[in-house]
């Protein structure tokens, strides 16, 4: 009984003790981690030489449709370069072959479904990234949450169709890899 009173009394005390100013509680890291991934994929991907208009033109990371990142993606790409190409973020409602995106995170929206977005850039040098949290349709890289961690799957065939090569290092980090026809790890 003595122990019981001690326990409840202390719990009440601790509750009474705390009453400080408010601020944001650490939220889920799911999208900040995805943003960090997006900002770091470029060095592991080979675009065809025709993909850049000039040697120092920007590399566009396009957020197409729904934007689950907010400022996290802008912060993540700040100061990131691939060689002389600075990485910049652009937000688009829909994507097509002339959008000028090097990497496209296709979240989908009423204006353009994920499937339509992928079809619109097929055959053009765009690294397509999709997200299980938005749709189960898969691009070349597909984010999933596994065991409470952000991971991704790679569809190398989809990358091949866009004329791109994904490095074996990135493939090794993938949960699964769908190989291109005739391809091997």
């Amino acid at each position: 009984m003595r122990a019981g009173i001690g326990f409840l009394g202390a719990a009440a005390l601790i509750l009474a003790m705390i009453a400080g100013p408010a601020s944001a509680r650490a939220a889920s890291l799911e999208f900040p981690i995805k943003a960090a991934f997006l900002s770091k994929f470029a060095p592991f991907v080979e675009w065809p030489p025709t993909a850049y208009p000039s040697s120092d033109s920007a590399l566009s990371l396009c957020i197409v449709g729904a934007d689950p990142f907010g400022v996290a993606i802008d912060q993540a790409v700040q100061g990131q370069h691939l060689g002389a190409h600075p990485l910049i973020v652009r937000r688009l409602d829909r994507i097509d072959a002339n959008s000028g995106c090097s990497i496209a995170y296709i979240g989908g929206s009423k204006l353009q479904s994920v499937e339509d977005g992928l079809a619109a850039v097929q055959g053009t040098p765009v690294l397509t990234v999709t997200d299980q949290a938005m749709s189960s349709v898969r691009g070349a890289i597909h984010f999933v949450v596994r065991d409470n961690r952000v991971r991704f799957m790679i569809d190398d065939e989809a990358a091949a169709k866009n004329g791109m090569n994904i490095s074996s290092k990135l493939m090794r980090l993938a949960l699964s890899v769908h190989l291109r026809s005739g391809g091997r790890l």
């Binding site: 202390a10 705390i18 601020s23 889920s28 912060q75 065991d147 409470n148």
Partner: protein, 639 residues
């Protein structure tokens, strides 16, 4: 009079038994993480299995794979030295005593819950962990979470003073081959693993690992003849199907030592194996369901002695959110069949074989009171067939005034249910009588008050400070029975029994931090203090002189420097100081470890190093065995 008796009981159980860097990874700076590291960050606190321990309102230290690799450790106990909130004491070449917040000693370190991939490994024989039975391929460990303080509400039985959670990598992260060899003066090991894909959504791996530990030294520097060696092999598969994830894993091992039972019984053998299956379903909206079951069998034999244990365990949990509430609830059921058969002397368990069941149910509600303030209330009920029902409530409050700061406080009640030895040990000498009688030992109780800070007060500095006050009741005592004395060897002995006659408190501080001096140099420091005060409860007299409270240093401190030069050369230095043990006395010691590793390519690393460099040998426990200096050369090859 009390001393021989104490020795008798302790002796009886002993005979019977003998049978960092990386500070709290609070809110990681994602920009600085590699792709590999990004994939290892836990994203939410959705469940007890997935909870990012580094963000929990508790005293938590996380040992990463990188820390283990850079420490040169070749066994779990040596890797656990990286956690400042543990006391790791090497007893001899085979055995360790490991505890948190006091009670250390081979037989008194009985208040920890230790899990390897969700499988509990403390033995109900004496509620301690037989560390020599616990092995993993260290290169495939993802991380080790060390929580000091009670974790009984969520985590399961025996989590009175702490929880150690050893988590191996998902098979998807161990594709390809890896071979490691550690060629050492006293602690060699070698291992090999190979893994691959299992269709598009799964992966597998198999591994084998072996080790050899040389003799420790006696106090006079002679060989103690306790060398041992062993091997283990195992597998793990992980696959997913839609929103379901499955894991199946297992291990088998066999070890041999020349004197597991010291002089009494040479040629000890350990054998065992386990199989664990786990199914997790993502129910969407942050809710999920996990069901896990395992079977574990361990046998220790030596001439005249057999100690065997079979464990069947099933547990399930469900988590979901309702408004501001994140709720986790679940239940578990465990059945153990053990046998302890001793023909060497008269210390036996009565009955020799026993089936023990342990059932529990728990519910935890994390309420977001304000955006920066969350209160976690938990309640667990546990029923042991040895000690009946008990309950473990806890309350934890976390205040996160910014992304970089967390203050927390907690009050918890924890219970340790009786071990087989505490319940069933007798020492019956024919012609004399029972010197140790079957007791009525009941559960031990703790109410723990804790508070702490964790965060990054300035850029590049991470810091964790925790304070605790533990109020223990009903601790184990050895008491004289009132059935009259027995003449033995010219003296008169009171028969004794195991009671709950000791109470007391401990308090202390645990602090650690790390500072990134530059991008390639990290310095870490840690210190813990412990104050203990125990006494006989009114109407009781502990003939063992309060020895169940353990034999602990008042402080421990460590310093660690981790440098990465030219991107592929690691230089690591570590110092640790451990205060003297009071009773029986063991002197304080300071030891140093050093390692230089060269990652020749992404797949090949060579290293040289040494542990316990300051002395040819030093003593850590009252068992009069000295731990030797170890020098090693290491090779890792990924293929």
């Amino acid at each position: 009079m009390s001393k021989p008796l104490m020795r008798l009981l302790l002796g009886a159980s002993a005979v019977v038994l003998f049978a960092g860097r990386a500070a709290a990874h609070e809110e990681p700076d994602l920009d600085r993480l590699s792709l590999e590291q990004l994939g290892e960050v836990a994203i939410t606190s959705v469940s007890k299995h997935a909870e990012p321990a580094s963000q929990a309102p508790a005293s938590v230290f996380v040992i990463t794979q990188d820390d283990i690799r850079r420490s040169g450790a070749t066994s779990i106990p040596e890797a656990l030295r990286l956690a400042p909130n543990l006391q790791v004491t090497r007893i001899n070449a085979v055995s360790y005593a490991i505890s948190a917040r006091g009670f250390n000693g081979f037989e008194t370190a009985n208040k920890l819950l230790v899990m390897i991939d969700g499988r509990s490994v403390y033995t109900p024989l004496f509620s301690g962990v037989l560390w020599e039975n616990q092995n993993v391929m260290l290169a495939d460990v993802e991380r080790i979470e060390v929580i000091s303080g009670p974790g009984g509400t969520l985590w399961g039985a025996n989590a009175v003073n702490g929880v150690i959670n050893i988590i191996t990598k998902d098979a998807a992260d161990t594709k390809g081959g890896l071979a490691t060899g550690n060629f050492a003066t006293t602690e060699g090991s070698a291992s090999i693993r190979y893994g691959g894909a299992l269709g598009e959504n799964g992966a597998w791996r198999v591994y084998a690992t072996g080790f050899s530990r040389n003799d420790s030294l006696t106090l006079s520097g002679d060989n103690a003849h306790d060398q041992w060696k062993g091997a283990q092999a195992g597998f793990r598969t992980d696959w997913s199907h839609g929103s379901d994830d499955f894991t199946l894993q297992g291990d088998a091992y066999q070890d041999k030592t020349t004197s597991l039972l010291r002089l009494l019984a040479p040629d000890g053998r350990l054998r065992g194996g386990n199989l664990t299956g786990r199914w997790t379903r993502d129910l969407g909206n942050g809710s999920g369901l996990t069901i896990q079951a395992y079977f574990d069998k361990a046998t220790r034999t030596s001439p005249g002695l057999e100690d065997s244990l079979e464990t069947y365990d099933i547990q399930g949990q469900h988590n979901f959110s309702v408004g501001r509430h994140e709720i986790v609830w679940g239940a578990g059921y465990r059945v153990t069949h053990d046998a302890f058969i001793n023909t060497l002397n008269f210390a036996v368990l009565d009955p020799e074989r026993r089936r023990v069941t342990l059932a529990d149910m728990f519910v935890q509600d994390e309420v977001t009171l304000r955006p920066d303030l969350s209160l976690t209330l938990g309640l667990k009920g546990e029923h042991s067939s040895l000690a009946g029902a008990d309950y473990m409530p806890s309350a934890r409050l976390a205040w996160r005034p910014s992304d970089k700061t967390m203050w927390w406080a907690a009050v918890s009640r924890a219970v340790r249910s009786p071990s087989r030895i505490e319940r069933d040990l007798i020492f019956d000498i024919p012609g004399f009588g029972e010197l140790v009688k079957n007791g009525t030992f009941e559960s031990e109780h703790l109410i723990a008050y804790e508070a702490g800070y964790r965060g990054r007060p300035i850029d590049r500095l991470s810091l964790s400070v925790s304070a605790f006050y533990n109020d223990y009741d009903d601790l184990r005592s050895n008491e004289a029975s009132d059935t009259g004395t027995i003449p033995v060897g010219g003296g008169q002995f009171y028969p004794i029994y195991v009671g709950n006659g000791v109470a007391g408190h401990t308090y202390g501080l645990e602090a650690w931090g790390s500072y990134d001096v530059t991008g390639w140099w990290r310095l870490s420091a840690a210190a813990t203090t412990l104050h203990k005060s125990f006494h006989d409860k009114p109407g009781h007299l502990d003939r063992a002189g309060l020895s169940s409270a353990g034999n602990d240093p008042e402080y421990q401190a460590s310093l660690r420097s981790q440098m990465t030069l030219a991107d592929n050369i690691d230089v690591d230095l570590a110092l640790r100081a451990v205060d003297a043990l009071p009773k029986p006395a063991v002197p304080s010691y300071i030891e140093a470890d050093a390692r230089v590793g060269w990652r020749v390519t992404d797949d090949v690393e060579v290293a040289v190093g040494g542990t316990n460099l300051f002395d040819k040998a030093h003593i850590e426990s009252p068992e009069e065995r000295q731990v030797r200096r170890n020098l090693y050369a290491e090779l890792r090859w990924g293929f």
